[in-house]
Amino acid sequence: MELLKKNPFRDKFNSKKEAIDYFVRTFFMISAIISSSFIIIIVVFIAKEGIKPFITDNNGIGSVNLFSFITGKVWLEGTAFLSNLYGVGFIIINTLYISFFALLISMPIGVLTALFIAKIAPKKIAEFLRTVVELLAAIPSIVYGLFGSGIILVFVYNFAKIFGIQSKGGNSVLATVLVLALMILPTITALSEVAIRSVRSEIEHGSLALGATKTQTNFKIVLLSAKSGIFTAAILGVGRALGEATAVSLVAGNARSGPSFGFFETTSTLTSTMLQGLKETVGIDYDIRFSVGLVLMVVILLTNLMLNFAKKRVGNINVK
C-alpha cells in the first residue's frame, strides 16, 4: 500500500485525475474527522455532567470523594438526594467479572459457529444460519431481557435448587452472564464469520497439502489466520456486554453492595446502575449517574486498549 502514497500538497495538479484524487481524499478525510469527533463530543458531554458531583458542593450536600467513589463497596450510604457517599468500586469489578464470563461462553460458541457457517456447513444451511444470526442481532435488548426473566431466571432458580442453594428468584451473576452471552453471540458470530471467510484459500491449501486433515486445517490454520478479525469481534462483543443496560437490569437483581463473585448472588453493572431511575431523579442523584457513565467510558477505554494490545501481540508474535 506504500505505493499509493503521494504528496497531496502540491501547488498545482499535473492532471485532472490528480485533482479529483486530491478532492476525494479531502472529502474522505472530512468523513473520518467527523466520525472520530463524535467521541470527543460524547466525552465532553459526559465529563461536563459527570465531574459535577466531585467539584461542586451539590447544593450543600458536599462534594463526592473521588477515591471512595472509585473504591466504594456500597452504591449509596444513606438517603438519596441527601447523601454524597456514593461508591462504584464493586460495580466496576462486577461489570468486568460478568463481561469476562459472558465472553468466555460466547467466544468459543460464536467462533466455532462462525467456523461451521463459513467452512463446514453446506451452502444452504450456512445461508440459513447466517440469516438466523442476523435476525438475532436485530432483536431489541428488552426482548432479550424478557427472555431472560421468562426463561433464564426460572432455569437458574431451579439449577441453584439442585445444589441446595436458595437463589434470589434466579436473579444472579449466572443469569446476567447467560443473558449477556446470548446477546453478544450474534455480534461475535457474524463478525468472526466475516473474518474466517476472508482467510486466503492458498493458506488453507498449504495446510491440506501437508497432510493435515480438514479439521486440523480449520482449527490450526484458519482460526489462526482469522485471529485479527476474531479479536475485533471480541472487542465489539465486550463493548456490547459492558454497555448493555436494559436486559441486564431485568435479571441482575441490581445489588447495591458487593462485589458479588458467587454465581448465584445478585449483582449489578455500571450501565444498569446508571439507567436505574435516571429519569426519576434530580440533583446529585442525577449527576452521579453521569459520573458512573464516565467511569464506564474509562473502563471500556482501558478494556479496548488492553484487547488491542493483546491483538497486536497475537498478530505479530508466534502463537501455537
Partner: protein, 399 residues
Amino acid sequence: MSNKRIRIDRFYQFMTYSAASIAVIILSMIIIFVISNGSGLLNFGLVVNDYHAKFYNGGIDNNITFSQTERPESLTSEIYYSEKWGIGLIEEENREGNTIISVEYIDIDSPLRNMRDKNNDNNSLSLSEGSIVSSIKFYDKNSALTIHGAEHMINELDTSDDFREIVYSSLGGGVRGSIITTLYIIGLTLLIALPIGIFTAIYINEFAKKNRVTSLIRSMIEVLTGVPSIIFGLMGLAVFVPLTVKYTQADSANLLSGSLTLAVILLPIIIRSTEESLKVVPDDFRTASLALGANHTQTTFKVVLPSALPGIMTATLLAIGRIIGESAALIFAIGTAIKDDISIFGKSTTLSVHIWSLMTDEPANIELASTIAIIILIIVLVLNLIVKLIAKRFTKNFG
C-alpha cells in the same frame, strides 16, 4: 491415518458441531419464546390499525322507540343480549390484554343505530358491530363500565329507559405508525451513516498515511464502539435535538434527530466491518489498477470497493439490525410518543421503543411486546433478503 488422529479429529469436529448446534438451539429458543408469547395477537389488523382509538360520545333523545327484537338464533351463549335495545355484547381481550366489551350484534331497529353526536349537534351517530363500548352513563344511577362486565352492562340497559351518554370507540393499539417510523428511521440512518462510515473506512485503509493521526482517529472510533447506547441517547438530546430544531421545521425531538443519533451509534460498526473487508482485498489489485493508469480514486471505487462489497453488506445488515433493535438511545433522542401520523420532523416511536413503552407500563404487556418482536423479525428478514438480492446483482455486475 492413526486411530489417535482420527479420535482427536472427531473430537474437534464434535466440538464445532455442538457449538453450532448450541448456538442454533439457544437462538431458536429465543425465537420460539417470542413466537409462543406473541403469535396470539399477530394479525393483519395489528399491522394496519391506528394506535390511538377514535372515541365517540352518543346520546339519545327522550322519545325513542325501542327495538324489542327477539334474540337471534345465531348468537352464541357468550353473547349478552338486550331485547329492548336490540344489542348483543361480548367480552373480549384487546391488544393490551385487558378485557373490553365489544358490540357483536346490533339490530336494524335498535335506537343505538340513530343517536345524537354529543360533540357535534349536526351529526348523528350509529353504533356498529365491532365497536368497543367503554361506558354507558345514566342519569339516576352509576355508570356501567367495562370493568363491571358485559352482563352488567346489558342488565343496566334493560332496566333503563334512557341514558345520558354512551362512550364507544374503534379498536386501537395497532402498530402501523411504529412500523412506518421504523422504516423511515432505517432509511434515514443508513443514508447518513453508510456514506460517512464507508468513506471513513476507505480513508483510514486506503488514503491515510500510517502515522499517529491515523491511529488516533482509528482508536477514537474504536472507543465509540464501547459507549453504551443510553449515553448516545443523552448526547442526541443535548446536541442533535437543538440542532434539528434550529435548522428544520421541527419544534422538539424528531425522527431526524433520532436518525442522526443512531447514525453515530452505527458508525463504528460500519467502519469496522468495511475495514475488515478492505483489508482482505489483495494489494495486487490496487497495484494492478494503478499500473494501468487509473488514479487512486478510480482504483478505490472501481477495484477496491466492489471487492469489499460482501463486507459492506454484512455491515449494512448488522446496522439494520442495530437500528431496529435500539431503544435506549431513541427514548432520549426521539421520545416515547406513539403516533399514527408520521412526519420526519415530528415525534413518533420505532417498534422497539414501542415495545419498551409497553414493558414499562404497569402492568407490562408482555404478549404484545412479543408480537411486535415477531413483526421486527419479519421486517428484518425481508430487508435481509432484499439487501442480499441487491448485493447479488452488484457482484454480478462487477464479475
